[in-house]
């Protein structure tokens, strides 16, 4: 809760402190008269003081401290937020909330699919490497993971795009093939799926390495614990020991890492969506930065931060389900 409050505050003030008058930057048209600019400022509420005592923060202009705090930009912003109102895009003049929602689903599709694949494949590879520790299988998996981790996301995307579009006949980007008429929704989904292959593959490879490395090392740690020896002494088979005793204990650090990684997923999304022209949040952030579309950026940040906070909460819950020791400590 405190975190969300902090994020909202940071989000608001960051954009007031940063250089460039939003109105002027947002509508870069030299033909606009002073009056027109002023009208735009009024329209977006930028004529009001930022907060008590400060008329504006960049450049810093002190203002009246005894005004009604409800009539400041900050409180209006928070109030709008509480109503699900994220402002209107400077660029498209559409409500930010609507735009974000559209893109959120696209991004979630990409991130979700990529993460699930990366987690499943990475963990399996990690288990395999730990089980066959110090053999060629282990060394091979290790080298592959280290290399995968070292690949710049966007570059991998470019290379896959290059190969995929010239040799495998995969689409060069976007979400749907332009100009296609779909007879059924299945056709439409198939087209989306076709467009998803390369970005998802990029995403999976980039994250797979780290999950594999973590899984391998925690599993090695867990397997050297005395309770594994107990299980072995009980006559339990290797497979069952891995399944019943080792994996659940090794999952504990994995969950933490996956939760921490969710912030990084956005990093990946920005790069991948830019390379593949995927109409998602990441690409939108990049476009909005270039266009100085402040309401859009603010909205996107807030959405991402809240999603990450939420995902962390879920991870915490999952963790306490996995580890009975958490409740009592």
């Amino acid at each position: 809760m405190l975190t969300i409050l902090f994020v909202i505050t940071l989000n608001f003030f960051l954009f007031r402190v940063l250089p460039g008058d939003p109105a002027r930057a947002g509508v870069r048209d030299p033909r606009l008269t002073k009056e027109a600019v002023e009208a735009i400022r009024v329209r977006y509420g930028l004529d009001k003081p930022v907060i008590n005592c400060f008329q504006s923060l960049n450049p810093v202009e002190f203002g009246d401290c005894f005004i009604n705090p409800l009539d400041t930009q900050f409180i209006i912003y928070v109030g709008n937020l509480l109503q699900g109102e994220l402002g209107i895009s400077y660029h498209t003049n559409r409500p930010v909330a609507d735009m974000l929602m559209e893109m959120l689903w696209n991004t979630l599709l990409l991130i979700g699919l990529g993460q699930i694949l990366a987690i499943v494949l990475g963990m399996s590879l990690g288990v395999l490497a730990a089980w066959k520790a110090r053999t060629a299988v282990d060394h091979g998996a290790l080298l592959f993971s280290l290399t995968a981790w070292s690949l710049p996301t966007f570059w991998l995307g470019i290379i896959l795009l290059f190969i995929g579009s010239s040799y495998w006949g995969l689409p060069i980007g976007g979400r749907l093939t332009p100009g296609t008429v779909y007879n059924t929704s299945i056709e439409r989904w198939l087209d989306i799926g076709n467009h998803l292959i390369l970005p998802t593959l990029t995403y999976t490879i980039v994250f797979l390495g780290e999950y594999m490395l973590i899984m391998r090392s925690t599993l090695l740690d867990v397997l050297s614990e005395d309770y594994i020896l107990t299980a072995k002494a009980k006559g339990i088979s290797t497979f069952q020991i891995l399944k019943d005793h080792a994996l659940r204990n090794a999952m504990l650090p994995m969950v933490t890492i996956i939760a921490l990684n969710l912030g990084f997923t956005v990093t990946g999304a920005i790069q991948i969506e830019t390379v593949f022209s995927w109409p998602g949040l990441g690409g939108a952030i990049f476009t909005a930065v270039n266009r100085r579309d402040y309401p859009m950026l603010q909205g996107a940040f807030l959405l991402i931060a809240i999603s990450v906070i939420f995902a962390n909460l879920v991870a915490d819950l999952f963790y306490s389900y996995l580890d009975p020791r958490v409740e009592d400590s």
Partner: protein, 312 residues
């Protein structure tokens, strides 16, 4: 009876045998050498304006231009060699900033505990939740994308995970009995941090620095790729940006895409390997076969905990 070798020398002796770490170190040294001696190594000076004809644009590799030419008809090899400089400078300086902040916050939070720790860790957790990269993009875009700003922004936002790591290591060192012994002697906090905590947290900081460098390099290249590079400096990310946005793909000019990308992979991989190797050396785990017996028990069996000594 010869005295035992100083820790540095015994560290080197073990590290030398670590294949992964050595490969990483050699790769990193090669990259640094290439950056330092760029003017000697590069066949052309990429900063010098050149006259080009249409044939020079995206020319495939040839004896004159071993890596081909780019969209402006410039030699890719030369740009590639000079490009290493930006990645290395940003990588090193940004990670030093991150590690310094992370180290100070981590050690003070872990050592002093109480309200200070609560406050600092609260702050760290919040910073950890806010996704770095969009913020980096935004800050660099809205300030001016020059080398200093890029370093500062990446450095000032990249300390959170280090702070957490250093804190947990500090906590575990603090629990150890020799810290209690130092207190019993009457040593003050500053003495304990300097003599007992910091030296034992240092190995972790070293490993972490190397890994943070690789993250900084990745972030810098991604920024440049998105067009947010210092326009006065050639960097690998910038080369990729130009190639990607100026038709290298449709021209089939793979050479303009491959070299700078591999450069980034080379640098990041060298740091990753070095980091892994350092970790294995500085923080050794008994990697005995797990499915047969606990390594703790092996240590017990072998009497490893106790080493035989001299003089009796």
């Amino acid at each position: 009876m010869s005295p035992s070798p100083p820790p540095i020398r015994s560290f080197w002796r073990t590290f030398r045998r670590n294949r992964m770490g050595m490969v990483g170190a050699v790769m990193l040294i090669l990259a640094v050498l290439m950056a330092v001696f760029a003017p000697v190594l590069a066949p052309y000076n990429p900063y010098q304006p050149t006259r080009v004809t249409i044939d020079d644009i995206y020319a495939p590799p040839s004896p004159e231009h071993p890596f081909g030419t780019d969209d402006a008809g410039k030699d890719v090899l030369s740009s590639f060699i000079y490009g290493a400089r930006v990645s290395l400078i940003v990588g090193f300086f940004a990670s030093f900033i991150s590690i310094f902040i992370g180290g100070v916050i981590g050690i003070s939070a872990g050592f002093y505990g109480g309200k200070l720790e609560n406050g600092l860790m609260r702050f760290t957790d919040i910073m950890l939740v806010i996704p770095d990269f969009p913020l980096i993009v935004l800050l660099v875009a809205l300030t001016k994308p020059n080398l200093l700003n890029i370093i500062l922004v990446i450095g000032l936002l990249g300390w959170t995970s280090s702070a957490r790591l250093v804190r947990s290591q500090t906590l575990s060192v603090k629990q150890r009995k020799f810290v209690l012994r130092a207190r019993a002697i009457g040593a003050g906090n500053f003495h304990i941090i300097r003599r007992h905590i910091f030296p034992l947290v240092l190995p972790l900081i070293v490993v972490n620095t190397v890994l943070v460098i690789s993250l900084a390099v990745l972030n810098e290249s991604a920024l440049s790729f998105l067009g947010l590079s210092d326009p006065t400096k050639i960097s690998w990310g910038q080369m990729l940006n130009f190639a990607f946005t100026r038709g290298a793909m449709s021209a089939g000019a793979w050479w303009a895409l491959v070299a700078p990308g591999l450069g980034i992979v080379w640098l990041v991989l060298s740091c990753t390997l070095l980091g892994q190797g350092l970790e294995q050396v500085l923080n050794p785990r008994l990697e005995t076969h797990h499915l047969s017996v606990g390594s703790k028990m092996v240590a017990r069996m072998m009497g490893i905990k106790e080493t035989p000594a001299i003089g009796d």
